[in-house]
Symmetry: C3
Subunit: 318 residues, 3 copies
Amino acid sequence: MHTLGEIATFIDAELHGDSSLKISSLAQCGDAGKGQLTYIASSKYKKDLLKSAASAVILSKDLLADCPTNALVVEDVYLAFAKISHYFKIKSALGSVHPSAVIETSAIGKNATIGANVVIGKDCKIGADVIIGANVTILQGCEVGNNCIIAAGVVIGSEGFGNALDKDKHWHSIAHLGNVVIGADVNIGANTVIDRGTLTDTQIASGVHLDNLVHIAHNVVIGADTAIAAGVTVGGSAILGKRCQVGGGAVIASHIHLADDTIITGSSTVDKHLCAGHYTGFTSISGHSDWKRNQMWLIKLDKIAHYLNIKLKHLKGR
Amino acid sequence: MHTLGEIATFIDAELHGDSSLKISSLAQCGDAGKGQLTYIASSKYKKDLLKSAASAVILSKDLLADCPTNALVVEDVYLAFAKISHYFKIKSALGSVHPSAVIETSAIGKNATIGANVVIGKDCKIGADVIIGANVTILQGCEVGNNCIIAAGVVIGSEGFGNALDKDKHWHSIAHLGNVVIGADVNIGANTVIDRGTLTDTQIASGVHLDNLVHIAHNVVIGADTAIAAGVTVGGSAILGKRCQVGGGAVIASHIHLADDTIITGSSTVDKHLCAGHYTGFTSISGHSDWKRNQMWLIKLDKIAHYLNIKLKHLKGR
Amino acid sequence: MHTLGEIATFIDAELHGDSSLKISSLAQCGDAGKGQLTYIASSKYKKDLLKSAASAVILSKDLLADCPTNALVVEDVYLAFAKISHYFKIKSALGSVHPSAVIETSAIGKNATIGANVVIGKDCKIGADVIIGANVTILQGCEVGNNCIIAAGVVIGSEGFGNALDKDKHWHSIAHLGNVVIGADVNIGANTVIDRGTLTDTQIASGVHLDNLVHIAHNVVIGADTAIAAGVTVGGSAILGKRCQVGGGAVIASHIHLADDTIITGSSTVDKHLCAGHYTGFTSISGHSDWKRNQMWLIKLDKIAHYLNIKLKHLKGR
């Protein structure tokens, strides 16, 4: 149990109300009751605030007058909520290596937590305060920076999918001689896979957040503070800049470059290099029979243009 | 070995033929031989039926006259086949916890089967008759109802991908304080991941079937008897109704609501709320050079409409 | 350390220069320095060749005159590079079964390497010289041919996603009685899943290469030397021919047939049977607001055709 005063200090909030109030847990505004702290991230939810039964609310200055209970005023409500959420998390035993983990001669940093059935190969470097979930595999020579959190089932350092065809059309895999080098403060979601580089290293810079079931191919370079949502496939040698955001289920083709601050809507296919900006590429959903009728014409657009005698040079406008 | 009589009783079929016949195994109609049982799910396959060498056939009443051998007449052939298939499955040792499993102080139900190298965190509740495959990870506080089957490599209760940006564009992850609560009779496919909720629980209702490599994000609620095929990405806080069917490789954006009985064709992107019905959204495949020519115009549709002076209000028809 | 002479022999190259030169490692042309071997796969990179500081270069005959250092002339540079890369790979202990692996009564071939925390069910057959990474699960009765390499976290032999609906709209899973049969020289990427067949076997022919996070459903048949990149979803009973290439993130619908030598661009949805050729089907990425404007018309193409009085029979041209 934390007092409201402690919480205010932790999130650097201006406290309006009873600093000795004991807060038992966090809850959504509509669900929150006695002893609970909630947050209002936007004035859209003002109505919820007015009738909230929470004992305290994190909010911005402009909503203070409408707050029926104790208030913690901050500049960025969502960020404050993110920070305080960790206060209420029951942590499993940290700083220990589970006896079932199989670790070859690797350097494990101070206070690192290695979960059950984790397998770490030779010559890896695992930073301080790293948390590695159960059933993770980290292969030979890979590096994980300080404060990283690696969720269950992740594989780091698998062989890249580089193959050469011989005359008989048989594939010869390339041995990937690079490693995976991961900076500090990186989060990696469950069952995500990061391949090692061919001759250089696959690089995940500090502050990167990867969601579940993401594929990062060989030689990929991801800039600092980039976030990639679940189910994204990043092809070999793609280079993503800093502070990019890639939505769930997107596919980034091999060798593509994304500039710093590029935003890709989920489910899009990135088939060209992109400058900073917000990009999208997928087919919006519609009723199945409508879709079928529209697809019939979509695969004939070039013929339609020909029939209507439309030339690219004709097309101006927006 | 089961007799045809026993099988008829099990699937509630009307037996036409020798009830003492011994059935050794199941087979496709075209492959089946002596001692084997097959099924004909549709009159389309009548030709196969006529020349089948199977010793017995599950079929519907209308095909009985064409059956050259012993027949089991049922109302729903495919369902009867599904039921009888389990009769012929060699089950590994059930009702036991593999000694290599790592289980913290969790409640494991009667007759539950826990596979090798499974890791179960603190305070989980695993129901009766649950079967958990090898290398599964279930994190602290999650609940799995009776009769669930969880395939190898699944992760349940991983942290959600909720992150707040600070002024310096660094991400701060939110600690996810909710759990995952899974009802009874749920099947979860291999290497699928289900994230825990932020403040409330991620909920998978009874009778849900999830295929392999599915991502279920934080706070998602999936209604009873919904089926989701492989490789689907379901974004955070999405709510899927009862009896929905989502095809393989589809992407459901965050915060989307699907009504009960919504069907999504595989590979579609669901970018809006949907009422009951059948919906689709992807680009049909075509020859690469045709695709290229059509895409050239697709990304100019708005300009074409402008050039042709087409207004939305002009468009009627079907 | 290998001498250039040894390397030339191994890749069957014509050596121009000092056969006793010691090569310490491989590097990209631009990065390579003293003691390093590089390669030039195309005359596009001639400029890099001219200023390379590498001690030796693998190249084709036409670039020999431009080579400033020792040269290894081969017919297929990329293939030669693929072969020699394995020379420089530090192999972990091969030919051993890790003591943490859980293996039921299965036949393990000569010189097979089984990684930590691998789980292999009853009656499996694992070929000679197979390498199985950590945390892999292979279920009862599955077969893996000689020389296969299976990366960490793979699941082979999980139940297929075949389900029958009853009158109350509850799903009844079908017990999958077939196995997975994998030929020789197959590579399977990390966290990929291959389901067992329903009544027959799921079949992966010799020489197939699968990347990470691929889903291969029940009853799928994949022909020899086909390569499938990461994140691909292959639906139930799909049949892929020999020497097909499927790009990352593609979706192949259930029951689809791909002829030998079919190439699918990454991210495409294969919703029809295809003859040999190169096929594509996705929406190219564009700026978000452009995409939005074009989508507005895309979902009205049929109405536009109607408004413009375009008939399918009108459309000729290319």
